[in-house]
């Protein structure tokens, strides 16, 4: 462990939160499949809705690299209808009511929704949610929602996630 401690303490390769999150998103795309109709061209469009915590980090991570042979395009938007054309929609700082409205709008469209440490994101109908630092798992997945969006998530990814199911006490 000394190797890690010594070198990390120099600050040489400590990554920032959003560098790591960008790298996760990049890899999520490698471990899931969209329905073929949705990916008829060679581009994965990542939409960042309203609040953008990444800054230039996301471009540095995505642009010029391919995930499953698809190039990335980053779109930042304030408009709900812009989300319809993307493969991945990312939400960071958002009020629950607005989120519910959006998730409802995206319901069953083949779009992967990713939440940034949003409480109850997966319970409310989001697919993948990042968890806060030092959580047992780094992200949580609601696979039922993924299926509703016709997105197939690799079991390898599911193994590393906290699995959230749709609320059972609904009636």
């Amino acid at each position: 462990m000394l190797v890690v401690a010594a070198s990390m303490s120099k600050g040489m390769c400590q990554y920032s939160e959003y560098e790591v999150k960008a790298a996760y998103i990049f890899n999520f795309a490698k471990f899931l499949e969209w329905p073929t109709s949705k990916l008829n061209n060679d581009t994965i469009i990542l939409a960042i809705y309203k609040d953008d915590p990444f800054g230039v980090v996301i471009e540095k991570t995505m642009v010029g690299r391919k995930a499953n042979n698809k190039v990335w395009k980053i779109v930042r938007t304030n408009k709900l209808k812009d989300l319809d054309n993307c493969q991945i929609a990312f939400f960071s700082d958002i009020q629950k009511y607005e989120l519910v409205k959006i998730l409802d709008h995206l319901n069953s469209k083949p779009i992967l929704t990713i939440g940034d440490e949003i409480i109850d994101f997966c319970e409310l109908g989001g697919t993948i949610n990042f968890t806060p630092q030092f959580s047992e798992y780094q992200f949580e997945i609601n696979n039922e929602i993924a299926k509703a969006h016709r997105i197939v998530i690799s079991h390898k990814l599911l193994l590393l996630a906290k699995i959230v199911t749709n609320s059972e006490d609904e009636f």
């Binding site: 890690v4 070198s7 303490s9 990554y15 790591v20 890899n27 009020q95 806060p132």
Partner: protein, 805 residues
């Protein structure tokens, strides 16, 4: 060290010329010419001839003269050693006394301290027997013996520091010196002299370089002065840099009459150049400058009368008007009869570094350190490790006390300086806050002022931080275990009070802070403002804790662990070799790319092999962003009524409600590090007392006679209101329906209710919680009874913020 002495007058009669006979006629002629040149002090012409003769014969007088020629060059003095040493070992001949002196000085230069003491002692002994007492040289010999004794003492103490010469593009074949860094070590300014030893007037310039990703210094560019024509006939050199990099100091003058000017760096230009006041600048020499991190103290060098001799270090304190007060000599503990130079006040505000030719030096200028204790400077300590027998100057240290920069001509026969970096491995517990502040929508840098108060003592930190209006960047340095209030003022927004707690720590850490101030607009009115504070910690030592947390789990999963180590090692190796193989911008980009690549691969591998441990360690080592967001709505929609009185120490100030910045969270144990969202407003809007409602906006929908349908013209405005409510937890609305005075009262009451209910339904359909809407029908409106009934048929929407206890 001055070798220009009258060495020629020494006679060589005692040296035998027994080999004269061995020379052929042309060689004899050559020797004759060489001696003639030598006697006319044309050493550069004599030297090559002597060297040729030395190849064909052994002649001690020739060897002596070669040594003497070398001694009179500028850059090759050390080559004299071999020749002098050879003749000094020859017992059969008697050598001039002065050779012992020269040899002693040269031995000292080359760290052969014991031999230097021998030779110099011999010189003193022999020359004191001589009637023509060589007083100056005897004094210098005694001083040099002192240096050697110091050096033996100082250089035998082992040091832990690592010293590296900076690579291209900072150091070149030319001379680089006088490095100065910002406290965060992201910007360096220094001097470069081109043509030293080649041109009669070497060209000097002030250079600037910024750190690029991968911790590598970027390509330096020269800084030029605004209105440089004005200074064309004067010499311009670098004098100092403030820890936040906002102020640069330069020396401008002729010869020894240098003055200190301040300026700001704007891209490749030094702008706003101003001469410091008459307390600082006199008709004498004023040189290098260091300003304390809080901006209140200025240390500078001057040879004005009244000092202890040579150049001394003075201190000036900023007075109430923000100008520099009368300077105080730092006193005889710091200043000696020799020159003191290049002061550097560390951001810890207790340590000063400076160079001196006095004190316990090992030769030339050495770098010393002194701390202030109970208001007094303690005995300066020779820094030891970076100091050489030559001039060591311009020491500057970053805020964490680990990385220092200095320049020295050590190991460089051309007397050219190079810039070195030293890693002291001994951090100082301070917190460096690097921030950026932006205003408006979209947020842009602007004119902002940040005042800092120490909460415990109630004292205002004297320095007012003015973030650069171009970039919005600022830099502050705080000692640990303190509570600070930052008051941020900018013209268009309410003054904001942000509390920052700097926890107790025994080490150094950096906090990256981003402050955004945005207006909240509703229907062309600004009804409030939103302040967002992002804190990201770059805690260099937290990783140890994180590691130990993980270590408990490790034995269970050795396989994962090995795998991780290998991966992490790969990352480290990639970055480390990149660091060592410094290089062009292409390589830097490559380096950054490799870092991203490593991270992507690390995560991909971890997913591929379903390896949670790697992800946990990565998680634990990630720098976190900590975000605080507050929205202030203006009271009654009026900005001026929205200020709260704050009493800090003796000052009373008016600001928006204070914001607590959770700076301490990253240092809490992991278990408490679960991010908590601000508690949701549980209060029932409907039951809240009207006094708890802060009305921020009023909107009125008007209706045609007997209609309850929301007119189309109102839709856009209702959408805006919806958005404000959705975005803000504490916002509710009162929806009040009214009718005109025509018709039956009962009917009108029912109609007013219907109008209010339709508006209520609109909001509920748009995802507004019913709890936030207080809808009521009031029947006939009491106003406009005798006048315009169009204004009576209406629904009033009052947007309010529910005040919290």
């Amino acid at each position: 060290m001055n070798f220009i002495r009258n060495i020629l007058l020494v006679l060589f009669l005692m040296l035998t010329l027994e080999n004269w006979a061995q020379l052929n006629s042309s060689e004899k002629r050559m020797l004759k010419n060489a001696n003639s040149y030598f006697e006319h002090e044309e050493f550069d012409k004599a030297l090559p001839l002597f060297l040729k003769i030395n190849e064909v014969t052994v002649d001690y007088s020739v060897k002596y003269r070669i040594g003497a020629c070398y001694l009179n060059t500028i850059y090759y003095k050390l080559k004299a050693i071999a020749f002098f040493e050879e003749i000094s070992k020859e017992e059969s001949i008697e050598i001039p006394t002065i050779v012992h002196y020269d040899l002693g000085i040269l031995f000292h230069y080359t760290y052969r301290f014991d031999e230097a003491i021998d030779q110099l002692s011999k010189f003193i002994q022999l020359s004191s027997q001589n009637e023509n007492l060589d007083k100056a040289n005897i004094a210098n010999a005694k001083k040099t013996i002192g240096y050697c004794k110091n050096a033996i003492e100082i250089t035998t103490v082992p040091f832990k520091a690592e010293i590296d010469v900076l690579r291209h593009p900072i150091n070149t074949m030319e001379s680089e010196y006088c490095p100065m860094i910002t406290a965060d070590e992201q910007t360096m300014v220094y001097m470069r002299a081109v043509g030293l030893g080649k041109l009669e007037n070497p060209v000097t310039s002030i250079m600037i370089s910024h750190k690029e990703s991968g911790n590598i210094w970027g390509n330096p560019i020269p800084l030029t002065l605004e209105n440089s024509v004005k200074y064309a006939k004067l010499s311009v050199s670098l004098a100092g840099l403030s820890p936040d990099g906002q102020t640069i100091f330069i020396n401008i003058g002729i010869g020894l009459n240098q003055d200190i000017y301040s300026g700001a760096i704007k891209q490749s230009k030094i702008v706003e150049i101003k001469k410091l006041n008459k307390n600082i600048n006199t008709n004498f020499y004023e040189g290098r400058v260091s300003i304390s991190s809080d901006g209140t103290e200025l240390y500078f060098v001057s040879d004005r009368p009244g000092g202890f001799g040579g150049t001394d270090i003075y201190k000036s304190i900023r007075n109430r008007r923000g100008d520099w007060g009368a300077p105080i000599n730092l006193g005889e503990v710091i200043n000696t009869q020799y020159n003191e130079n290049s002061p550097f006040k560390h951001p810890d505000n207790v340590t000063i570094f400076f160079s001196s030719e006095g004190h316990k030096t090992i030769g030339g200028n050495d770098i010393f350190k002194s701390k202030i204790e109970n208001g007094f400077w303690n005995e300066p300590e020779n820094l030891g490790f970076p100091n050489s027998t030559k001039d060591d100057l311009y020491f500057a240290l970053n805020a964490n006390g680990q990385i220092g920069y200095f320049s020295t001509s050590k190991n460089n026969i051309y007397n050219k300086h190079n810039i070195f970096k030293v890693n002291l491995k001994d951090p100082i517990p301070l917190t460096l806050v690097k921030g950026v502040i932006k205003l408006g929508n979209p947020p842009k840098p602007g004119k902002v002022e940040i005042k800092v108060y120490d909460k415990e003592t109630g004292l205002k930190v004297k320095y007012i931080y003015n973030p650069s209006p171009e970039t919005g960047k600022y830099l502050m340095i705080f000692p640990p275990a303190k509570n600070y209030d930052l008051v941020i003022s900018s013209g268009e927004f309410l003054p904001q009070l942000i509390n920052v707690y700097i926890p107790y720590q025994t080490y150094f850490y950096e906090l990256y802070q981003e402050i955004l101030l945005e207006p909240i607009n509703l229907q062309n009115n600004t009804i409030g403002e939103k302040i967002t504070v992002n804190n990201t910690f770059y805690d260099l030592y937290k990783t140890y804790e994180a590691d130990s947390i993980l270590l408990d789990d490790l034995p269970k999963q050795p396989k994962y662990y090995d795998h991780l180590l290998e991966l992490v090692e790969n990352i480290i190796q990639t970055s480390d070799t990149m660091r060592i193989n410094y290089a062009s911008t292409d390589n830097l980009k490559q380096h950054e790319k490799n870092n991203v690549e490593s991270l992507l691969n690390l995560i991909e591998q971890a997913i591929e092999t379903s390896d949670p441990v790697t992800l946990s360690i990565l998680d634990a080592n990630t720098r976190q962003k900590d975000k605080i967001k507050e929205t202030h709505f203006y009271v009654d929609g009026d900005k001026s009524k929205s200020l709260q009185m704050q009493i800090i120490g003796t000052d009373t100030i008016y600001t928006a409600p204070p914001i607590k910045s959770m700076s301490a969270t990253s240092l809490l144990p992991a278990s408490t590090l679960i991010k908590t969202e601000k508690p949701l407003v549980e209060s029932n809007f409907k039951l809240s007392a009207p006094s708890k409602r802060n009305y921020i906006h009023k909107y009125v929908v008007y209706y045609d006679i007997n209609k309850d349908k929301i007119p189309k013209s109102a839709t856009k405005d209702l959408e805006d209101i919806t958005q404000i409510i959705i975005n803000n937890q504490a916002i509710g609305i009162e929806v009040s329906g009214f009718t005109d005075s025509q018709g039956e009262k009962r009917y009108n009451l029912s109609l007013s209710r219907k109008r209010a209910q339709k508006v209520l339904k609109y909001f509920i359909d748009n995802n507004i919680e019913q709890n936030k809407i207080i809808a009521k029908g009031f029947g006939e409106a009491e106003d406009h009874k005798s006048g315009n009934s169009d204004k009576q048929r209406r629904v009033e929407i009052n947007v309010f913020e529910l005040k919290q206890e």
